[in-house]
């Protein structure tokens, strides 16, 4: 099974003495059923709701460089892709997100979508 990634903040490992959770899982971190210590049914529900996904979380959002939501980020990136302003790496990220079809990925050596058309 592919790695699963958090698309929400999670907490785990409750310390009864300190009365607080000692483990924090942020959006973009890898997360497993064992990390959260939950039953199969609840894990399946998390996958179904999209709080945990196999789809990677955009780094620009998780690292704070982009202040809005992942969906908004992908929309902006698609807009830039249409204008030929994305690097090959950014196009690959979009493709991995499922927001852009495989066929639109530029050739490996190119630096941007616009140069790929030349």
């Amino acid at each position: 099974m592919a790695d699963t990634v958090a698309w929400s903040n999670f907490q785990a490992n409750y310390d009864e003495e300190k009365r607080q959770f000692t483990k924090r899982i942020k959006p973009g971190d890898k997360v497993s059923q064992a990390d959260l210590g939950i039953e199969d049914e609840e894990w399946e529900a998390l996958l179904e709701s999209g709080a945990v996904r196999e789809q990677p979380y955009p780094e620009a959002v998780s690292e704070g460089g982009y202040p809005d939501s992942p969906n908004r980020y992908f929309l902006d990136q698609l807009q830039k892709a249409a204008e030929g302003q994305l690097s090959a790496d950014e196009v690959k990220e979009l493709q991995a997100s499922g927001a852009m079809p495989e066929a639109e990925v530029p050739v490996e050596e190119t630096k941007s979508a616009s140069t790929a058309k030349k």
Partner: protein, 338 residues
């Protein structure tokens, strides 16, 4: 001479029938308030805080004052799509209704309160609003629509109906802290406190009985004005979400009622006012029709079908205009809570 039972047909009572409530509250327009627009698509400005700068403003006599640069903004677009449904009212309906033996016949106790036209408008409006509610709840309940710090998901003993673990009253789940964290996240991003807290109506009883809540209100009464707000630390409006829909594929399939809002809790800023420089999580941009309304109903005759057609329209775009003005607490209640 005759068997009496064969001489009698049970009438349908005109004074009694059984039904679930024919109307229900919808929260889509409450959480994503309607903004009437005059064009199908358009742009609106989004101001950031880049011009909240400290600027040298000291001016010496005889010198020119320092000048500041104008603010900058980005632009976003809305694009409305029409949502429209129609239903026929057949001539045969009216004819049968008022015929001898029809439900409106005095033999059956007088005119039954059936108005096909009014019922038709009510039905198609309900269908359209159910779809709007579904779209709104789908948008609000998707963690991908929130910035990195504006969503948390509760699991296992953290869920508010799970009141175990720890030492009473400090059980593992903690709605008060969860709500305060959410409030701080919204405030940090927008400099405004959230003013709406939306909770599934069935979840409220778990919160009111939660040990950490009880511990906080043991010194005063919940009947005091604003007591719940004081307990949770939330000072805005609490909206109890209870809208549901039938998820079956068609009218004949087994009815399966599904709550739109599931087990999630949402809080954020909702500002229904129009105007510049407002802050709200989302909007329903609704295009105004030529009759001046945003949800007109039309009626016309189709002679070939011997029917009057009734159609209601709603042209809108649901748009998150400021994602950081909302916070999603996913799975605040467990799957078994209700």
């Amino acid at each position: 001479m005759y068997d009496p039972s064969g001489l009698y047909i049970d009438p349908i009572l005109s004074t009694f029938s059984v039904s679930l409530p024919m109307t229900q509250n919808y929260y889509g327009l409450r959480l994503m308030p309607e903004t009437p627009v005059r064009t199908q698509s358009g742009q609106y400005r989004v101001f950031d805080r880049s011009d909240w700068l400290l600027s040298e403003d000291r001016r010496e006599p005889g010198t020119v004052a320092h000048e500041v640069v104008g603010g900058k903004w980005s632009q976003d677009v809305f694009s409305t799509k029409e949502h429209s449904l129609q239903v026929p009212v057949l001539d045969e309906e009216r004819q049968q209704l008022t015929s001898l033996g029809g439900l409106s016949d005095p033999v059956f106790g007088g005119a039954l309160d059936i108005n096909p036209e009014a019922d038709a408008v009510s039905k198609i409006t309900r269908y359209i609003m159910l779809n709007h509610e579904f779209k709104t709840s789908t948008l609000l309940r998707n963690t991908a629509n929130y910035p990195v710090n504006n969503t948390t998901t509760l699991t296992g003993a953290q869920q508010w109906d799970q009141q175990t673990g720890g030492t009473y009253p400090y059980v593992t789940s903690d709605p008060v802290t969860n709500i305060l964290v959410a409030m701080r996240a919204v405030y940090t991003a927008t400099l405004r406190w959230p003013n709406v807290l939306a909770i599934p109506t069935l979840g409220m009883s778990y919160i009111e009985q939660h040990p950490r809540i009880i511990d906080r209100f043991k010194y005063f009464s919940l009947t005091n004005d604003g007591a719940f707000q004081a307990i949770t630390g939330f000072q805005g409006q609490i909206v109890l979400l209870d809208s549901v829909y039938n998820s079956a594929q068609n009218l004949d399939a087994t009815v399966s009622m599904v709550p739109f809002w599931g087990k999630d809790v949402w809080l954020g800023i909702v500002d229904p006012t129009l105007g510049q420089n407002t802050m709200t999580f989302g909007k329903t941009f609704a295009q105004i029709y030529p009759d001046g309304t945003t949800r007109p109903t039309e009626r016309w005759r189709e002679e070939s079908r011997k029917a009057d057609l009734i159609r209601t329209n709603f042209k809108y775009d649901l748009k998150i205009v400021s994602s950081s003005a909302g916070y999603l607490i996913k799975n605040a209640f467990s799957a078994t809570a209700w």
